[in-house]
Amino acid sequence: MSEEQIIIPWDLDGTLGDLFVPEYIVEMANVVVTYYDLQVSHMEVITTKADKGGLIWKIETDKGPMSLKILHRRPTRSLFSLGAQEYLVVEKKAKVPPIIKTKMGENFVEMGGKLWFIAEWIQPLEPVEKSLEGAKLLCSAIGEFHNLSKGYVPPSGAEMASRLYRWPKTYKKIVKKMAWFRDIAKAYHEMPASSTILAVIDMFESQAIKALQMLEQSAYFQLAARGNKEWGLVHQDYGWSNGQKGADGMWIIDLDGVAYDLPIRDLRKLITGTMDDLGTWDITWVKGMIDAYQETNPIEKELMEILLIDMSLPNLFYKNVKELLFEPTVFMDGELETLVNRIVEMDKTKWPVIEQLTEEWKGVSSS
């Protein structure tokens, strides 16, 4: 391993297996741990982001179990997230894993062009039950997280990671990609899923356009204008695995993607993902989740409107279909056709739920 060795993604075609780690990275890990006042007795690869150059080990040390992570993002970007994690633990006593300092008192080690850090391995930690009660636990936990993260200021040298002002851009991108999907489905019209996609693409495209219009007419711009610090951080990758039950309550882990944003982005993703798992939109669940969230982080009326607008995007369709761009001849098979049909059916159950929520929220006065 030379000193200039840069970590590069190592498993581009996905053939090496989830837990494969190149030898030079293992060697680096052995060097990195020497920066810490820890005796490591065992290392175990937990998960890899091989296509991006990220990795998590569980390490056994004389001071208990820890996680050792390579953050795959740019160092200046990772610095933002590490600062956030420290802020939440130290200033706000939030239940996120505390960062272990190096012998030099730093939060991280820089090697191979990436930031590495060690944090406590929280245990016991277990996923919440797959039920409405479990969903509520997840919601109130992320609400608290959002609440506590307000006021965070990144350390000097860190990038400002913010998606707060980018909502219209993100919506426009979805609108644009609908046209791409159509173009590809037309160009590969012989594929099994093509005709199904072409049959529904107009509908989903107009949903996206309408959501964009609604966003632009909403209070979004006024809300965003309050600024990053005021809103605080959004996890951006929150779900059933990154919020887990510990001995004394809910813990939130894997903070490396945090960015300033409107908090309801996490909530919306959690709701859509959960509805996808249920296979249908269920008003009891959605209301239960929103209410649980509000217990720890109340949603004002204008923000609730944006939550509803964000739900009205064709999120599920977009997420599941966008991969067709990569290998249309493989991806647009019968399986995708079935999936799209399922999404269309689910979509029908979404609108009554949104409508009912809209009705119920109409009379509520703004906080």
């Binding site: 996905g14 990038e159 400002m160 002002y165 173009d183 590809i184 160009a187 599941n320 761009l325 990569f326």
Partner: protein, 509 residues
């Protein structure tokens, strides 16, 4: 370094030798060992400018460059960069114990005020290569203050100037467009002896003999519009079966991150009945060969771009141009003479109309190409760029000499103006002495990003990527992929696109 002779000559004319500081951007180092349009532009101009002035270049540190060095009389000072905040600190620290007559800042209005605070008496000139005055880039209050402190704002197109005055009309009197240049020795028309040889060799190598070749060169991003060009092909295929499309772009083969957009374009391209050649990363010193091999150049830009350098390169290579009515691009097109301007850039049909006209008329192609070459020779040489910058500097010199207030533009007396005009004439005469500029540029100019200017904030396509508020108008050149060229002649089938197990991944639930 200015020779004694030059110094003496200028002293005789009653001029003095200015101490000039050039401040680069915080993204990439100078000399441009990692590419970068602005870095290349600076490296390409300073040799000649240093004949009459003592130049210091302040840029960012790089593992492969010392923190301080002097090359050919030019002093290089490097401070930590990448983030503007960090870079700004380094600049301020450096300037605290230094004095300069003129400070020429590149593309960073946000550096003007901090520089002014530690350099109260220097003339400050700002060169704008992108629309960095827009609201998300600089607070209006700071922008106004910065403009007041500037003696000149150089822009690379009228469009950039207009973008500034739309927000800040008071900048009007300080604006001066200096169009960029092209290396006429490197980009040569196929009708020259050497050009013909290159053309034949490239065409032989890639099985393009007898084809009418349409060329795109630029980043593969939605803003650059390669997809619209690809979508224009089916309409052209009907009447022109012997065409081929070459896409020269660095993102195609990027190993670790194929964007949705690249995937989209290549999925479209794979369905054409005519050859679509996607070169992937092309070594900078070889890029002109593709221009030589082509018959028509297309710039299908969808965004308001400053003015893509590829236009100059296409002109120099004697190619007729089809470009779009976006940003500064139409400024270098004389409609129907060296190219056509597409008024609705999102419409493939409009591209097809212009292209069909050119494809079916070889004489028209030749005429327009030759006219383009003539324009490049007359208007878009590096000598002219350097001499324009030199006369701006001379104007600053006059202002210093005549003690004209900093940041003022209109109180120059008639005599001053006459003096400046005379200077400009002298400058032209001196161009003969600068004849070696071209050879300097041959080495460096190829290193720049294909189109020179990169749109801001265009990060990865992935919706999950956290966006960053940093400026990103420069692109770091990607490392050449292992496999350099993939040719899909006579496609389909379009095969060994880098296999990505996207399907697997996305369906894992």
């Amino acid at each position: 370094m200015a020779s004694d002779r030059a110094v003496n000559r200028r002293m005789e004319r009653g001029e003095f030798f200015m101490k000039v500081l050039i401040i680069c951007t915080e993204k990439l180092p100078v000399p441009p060992i990692r590419g970068g349009a602005i870095q290349t532009y600076i490296a390409g101009s300073v040799q000649s400018l240093s004949k009459d002035h003592q130049i210091t270049i302040l840029g960012i540190t790089d593992p492969d460059l010392p923190e301080k060095e002097t090359i050919a009389g030019i002093e290089y000072v490097r401070v930590p960069g990448k983030l503007l905040e960090i870079y700004r600190e380094g600049i301020v620290h450096f300037l605290k114990d230094q004095t300069f007559d003129l400070i020429h800042i590149f593309n960073r209005p946000r550096l003007v005020i901090p520089v002014r605070e530690v350099a109260p008496n220097a003339r400050i000139v700002l060169s704008m290569h992108n629309d960095m005055f827009k609201l998300e880039k600089i607070e209006p209050e700071e922008a106004k203050k910065a403009i007041a402190q500037l003696d000149k704002i150089i822009t690379i197109s009228n469009y950039i100037g207009k973008a500034i005055t739309e927000l800040y009309p008071e900048a009007q009197s300080k604006l001066q467009t200096i169009y960029s240049g092209v290396d006429l020795e490197r980009f040569i028309p196929a009708y020259t002896e050497k050009g013909k040889r290159i053309r034949e060799s490239v065409r032989r190598e890639h099985n393009l003999e007898g084809k009418k070749v349409i060329l795109f060169a630029g980043r593969l991003s939605a803003n650059k519009g390669a997809d619209v060009l690809v979508r224009a092909i089916p309409e052209l295929e009907k009447n022109h079966s012997n065409i081929a499309l070459i896409i020269v772009g660095s993102k195609w083969f990027s190993q670790d991150d194929i964007t949705d957009y690249v995937a989209y374009v290549r999925a479209l391209a794979a369905r054409m009945s005519v050859p679509v050649i996607t070169t992937g990363f092309v070594a900078p010193e070889e890029i002109q060969n593709w221009f030589c091999a082509a018959d028509i150049f297309v710039c299908p830009s969808q965004w308001q771009e400053p003015l893509a350098r590829v236009h100059y390169e296409a002109m120099a290579a004697g190619l007729p141009i089809v470009t779009t009515a976006r940003g500064g691009n139409p400024e270098v097109i004389e409609g129907g003479k060296n190219g056509f301007v597409v008024e609705n850039p999102e419409d493939p049909h409009e591209f097809a109309l212009h292209l069909a006209k050119l494809l079916s008329n070889p004489n028209l192609r030749n005429e327009m190409g030759q006219y383009g070459r003539k324009l490049a020779e007359e208007k878009y040489t590096w000598n002219r760029v350097v001499s324009n910058i030199a006369s701006v500097w001379r104007e600053m010199e006059q202002k210093i000499k005549n003690k004209i207030a900093i940041g003022s533009t209109n109180d120059a007396t008639n005599e001053d103006l006459e003096a400046i005009a005379t200077e400009a004439e002298n400058e032209l005469e001196m161009n003969a002495e600068m004849a070696d500029v071209n050879s300097q540029l041959v080495i460096e100019s190829g290193k720049e990003v294909l189109d020179g200017i990169i749109e801001t904030n265009e990060t990865k396509e992935s919706g999950e990527m956290t966006e960053v508020l940093a400026d990103a108008e420069e692109e770091i050149i990607e490392t050449p992929p292992l496999k350099k060229i993939f040719i899909c002649y006579n496609n389909p089938p379009a095969k060994p696109w880098l296999k990505v197990n996207k399907k697997e991944k996305s369906r894992k639930r």
